[in-house]
Amino acid sequence: MTENLYINNTKEVYDAIVIGSGISGGWAAKEFCERGLKTLMIERGRVVEHRKDYIGENKAPWQQPLRTKVDNLLVKEQHQIQQQCYAFTDATKHFFGNDKDLPYTTAKDTNFTWIRANQLGGKSLLWHRQSYRLGEYDFNANKNDGFGNDWPIRSADISKWYSHVEKHAGISGSKDNLENLPNSDSLPPFEMNSPEKSLQKKFAELYPQRPLIMGRTAHLTKPTALHLSQGRVQCQARNECQAGCSFGAYFSTQSSTLPAAAATNNLHIAPNSVVHSLIYDENTNRVKGVRVIDNDDLTEREYFAKVVFVCASTIGSTQILMNSTSKRFPNGIANSSGVLGHYLMDHNYNAAASGDIEGFEDEIDSGRRPTGLMMPNFYYKPDSKRGFLRGYALAGRAYREGWQSLQHQDGLGVDYKNKLKQAGKWRFGLYAQGEMLPRFENQMRFHSTLKDKWGMPQIEFDCQFSDNETNMMIDAAEQAEKMLKAVGLKNVSSRVMNGPPGLAIHELGTARMGRDPKTSILNAYNQSHDIPNLFVTDGASFCSSAVQNPSLTFMALTVRAVDYCVKELNAKRI
């Protein structure tokens, strides 16, 4: 790694600026650097070094003063929002944002949970690592039912870029040959336990159109020579990933894209640099660079480049565009269409079902598998009789109960202790991951007066699930309960919940792609319709949410956009 990897002030005009260092930013930087372009990655937060800064890693609960929990006082003062995330523990809390510095508001009678990870690596350190390609029906969904605009790309446009990122990142999973869930270029899947294998078989008999597959996840089940050469080794099944992984066994910026980018000597990183706005030259109709506010001392500085890739997360990227105003773009740069900030989406997790599995008492699983099973969306073909548009996937796993479940029973003393010592019954559950329709009224906008400490206007969310999502979750709970009973589970129960959008942490849309510059921000290559040297390649660019976890598609869209951008630069069209 170069000594001067991290910079602060510089007059250099870079070939490319990449705003953000998470999943999208890491990929953009790697691809630019490997094509020989001098690249500046801008990160608003602090530096997190691989291994060295994973301070919560591999600590047994008894080695943590509060045994994995976080002090109330700290939560109240700094993490009221962030603590809603399932991964927020004492071992991970330093990778979540400080809510006191990151205020936002929500419109009356609405709610939105915004999870932040403002440090080098961003949410690539904290993600759940589930990795799925979008299918042809997903790219066609908006066109078919008229909600949202048509995706300007199809599977054929992106499949080789999925392969490209999968091979480098390392995605484990089976080749399931499904109509709407393309196979990945994958490493071997994780093993199923015996009850899961048995359920898989029963589902195949009773519901041939609803296969249960092993969850595809960005973990090295069998590292290739490339992975080993990067210092990444096989997943050890600790499932404490969000604390950071010194084995480099899951994909993160730190484990995968950053080392590759840095090895080229073409990379500089400007940490602690909160991007305030893009610098726009009206005469040339190009962005010239970015204006940043120092994270710590709030001083201003500027960085310059020939092209700018905005990869600051869905909300973050759009916030920067909205704050970049000029005579030509009074309502946010690249926003001649007026749709910037609109069509905000997340996934909906508001349905679940679970039950007991009989038998298999003479076995248990070993290790903590960092993924579960997935029943991919079986409603991918439109059907007007269904009562709602689009569909959902169901995720779940089988596990034997431990003391956490058994403690609730009556009893005291030796008997009680001995009962809690032994493994309990096997359980299996499914929870829904539903698609959310792209709707104009679901949006992020600037609060009329409030600003944050860096002078950025605060975001006001106005975003709600509609009846379509609610009806879908009612169906998901019904279907899941029906199926679990049919495959022989006992004591099956299901539930529909009422969680607000945001907490799936799959924010999507707000600077969507499209064929028509009048109704979209970006073209088929994530390039601004209005400004040729401006690209947005993260979740902001999505036209629909599909049901798949979106990060793998962030990666593929990003590398495809870089490839296109470099060709355009070489052809002097940018």
Binding site: P61, R67, N72, Y86, N239, I364, G367, K421
Partner: protein, 219 residues
């Protein structure tokens, strides 16, 4: 896991550490080759990944002064309750690993005031019923009497109603959390593996065996 969980008497922190480290290194060498394995282990990665050090909460061990939530008298009472709920068997029980000190500390740092007060009131109630029924404070009762009283509370019978029963379930949850996340509870009473080395879907299990103390702790 067999190597360091079969013989309970042989278990201590150093043994687990050295043995699992050796075993892990062996596996890692097969996986990535000796040179890479050594480089990984000599670097920061494994010193971080394998670092184990004891860091116990000391409040309550000596029982000489008030805790952060409970006055000394109630800390002593809580220790007796811990001993009844999860007693010493082949392995130490909840009282021996200072679960009462843990609860005092945990309530102070991780719970709302209402929950803290609920626990103080519950201990007061238990003592009142002890005095009413046996004319002695809870800690002065024989273990059989303590067991009898807490069983009635656990079932919401005799002197106790459903609300008080629910409060005691909350206390039991705290005792269980404290015990099964302690080193003894997680790694001696149950089986704890810091670095499993991979996932196996199925291994044999007999009812008499200890379950995992290293599952379901994080996400």
């Amino acid at each position: 896991m067999k190597e360091y969980h079969n013989d309970q008497s042989n278990i201590n922190e150093t043994n687990i550490n050295t043995e699992s480290r050796r075993k892990f290194l062996r596996g890692l060498s097969l996986l990535v080759g000796g040179t890479v394995a050594t480089a990984l282990v000599s670097g920061n990665s494994l010193s971080v990944a394998m670092a184990h050090s004891l860091n116990p909460v000391n409040v309550g061990h000596d029982l000489l002064s008030d805790g952060k939530i409970f006055p000394l008298k109630q800390l002593k009472q809580l220790k007796s309750i811990c001993a009844i709920v999860i007693p010493k068997t082949d392995t130490l029980g909840a009282a021996e690993v200072n679960t009462h000190g843990f609860i005092d500390n945990q309530l102070f740092h991780c719970y709302e005031q209402a929950e803290q007060e609920k626990m103080i009131q519950l201990l007061t109630l238990i003592d009142e019923v002890a005095t009413k029924s046996f004319s002695q404070s809870f800690t002065e009762l024989s273990q059989d009497q303590q067991f009898e009283l807490l069983t009635a509370l656990d079932l919401g019978k005799e002197n106790f109603d459903e609300k008080q029963r629910a409060d005691f379930k909350s206390l039991k949850k705290l005792i269980c959390f404290g015990y099964y996340t302690s080193e003894v509870g997680a790694s001696q009473e149950l089986r704890y593996i810091a670095v499993p080395g991979g996932y196996k879907g199925s291994i044999p299990y007999k009812d008499s065996e200890a379950s995992w103390g290293s599952q379901g702790l994080y996400y």
